[in-house]
Symmetry: C2
Subunit: 112 residues, 2 copies
DNA sequence: GAGGAATATGCGAATCTTCGCATATAATAA
DNA sequence: TTATTATATGCGAAGATTCGCATATTCCTC
């Protein structure tokens, strides 16, 4: 695969690589929201949120719809939901494995 | 969701957010490889590759097996393959949509 | 049009990432 | 033991990201 393509993919992953932006995307799974909604739910500075939204916009992960005073954000592609879902599964599996490992170590420790 | 969990997910995405590391993971989909293999396939400095591999190791995305002189790398979890695959699909869809949009703009342009 | 609400942008400081280069470690071969 | 091959690590410079704070911009209401 040419490096340009990998570069594109890396940029998407990069856009997802921040807790705040993950929170934003998770909120968006249930439908569109305004910036104020995000601020209320996440308890962050409005300007900071706007900066994170700008990152997601630049990569076209979210799209906006302007209604009067407000801007509604939504996910551009439902595949993004699948991606987040897969990451959730990955996360749970990893945590599960770590716990199992700790259990095992403890058992070994007790029996020594 | 607590922020700690999002932080963990963000770290995984972060680890994927570099063309070289994506290339490494794509190579690993077919089985384990040594550092020298990567260097040959990707044409990069060995030290640089080792640094990228260290990032993937730190997040436990890859695991290693030492055999004499060499170190074999492999993916820890097959879910990672699914994740990359989903990103491939996402990528193709985005590119497709962009091309469609350009076509449309061109058509509109001609007819004006 | 003046004031207020919702959102975006500019800037500088602090922090993180990436690279190249030099060097360390570890296993093997001679 | 010395040399060689395979891999990892340390360091510093260049660049990117993130945050808080100040300030724009845009739309609405009076």
């Amino acid at each position: 695969m040419p490096d340009t393509l990998r570069h594109f993919k890396a940029e998407i992953f990069q856009a997802l690589a921040h807790p705040t932006r993950i929170a934003v995307l998770e909120q968006l799974q249930n439908g569109e929201l305004t910036v104020t909604n995000f601020v209320e739910h996440l308890g962050l500075e409005q300007a900071n949120l706007s900066q994170h939204l700008a990152v997601l916009r630049a990569r076209q992960i979210v799209v906006t719809r302007k209604a009067g005073n407000q801007v509604f954000y939504s996910l551009r592609d439902p595949l993004m939901i699948e991606l987040l879902d897969l990451m959730r599964r990955y996360f749970h599996k990893q945590v599960g494995e770590s716990v199992a490992l700790l259990d095992e170590m403890e058992r070994a420790d007790r029996s020594s």
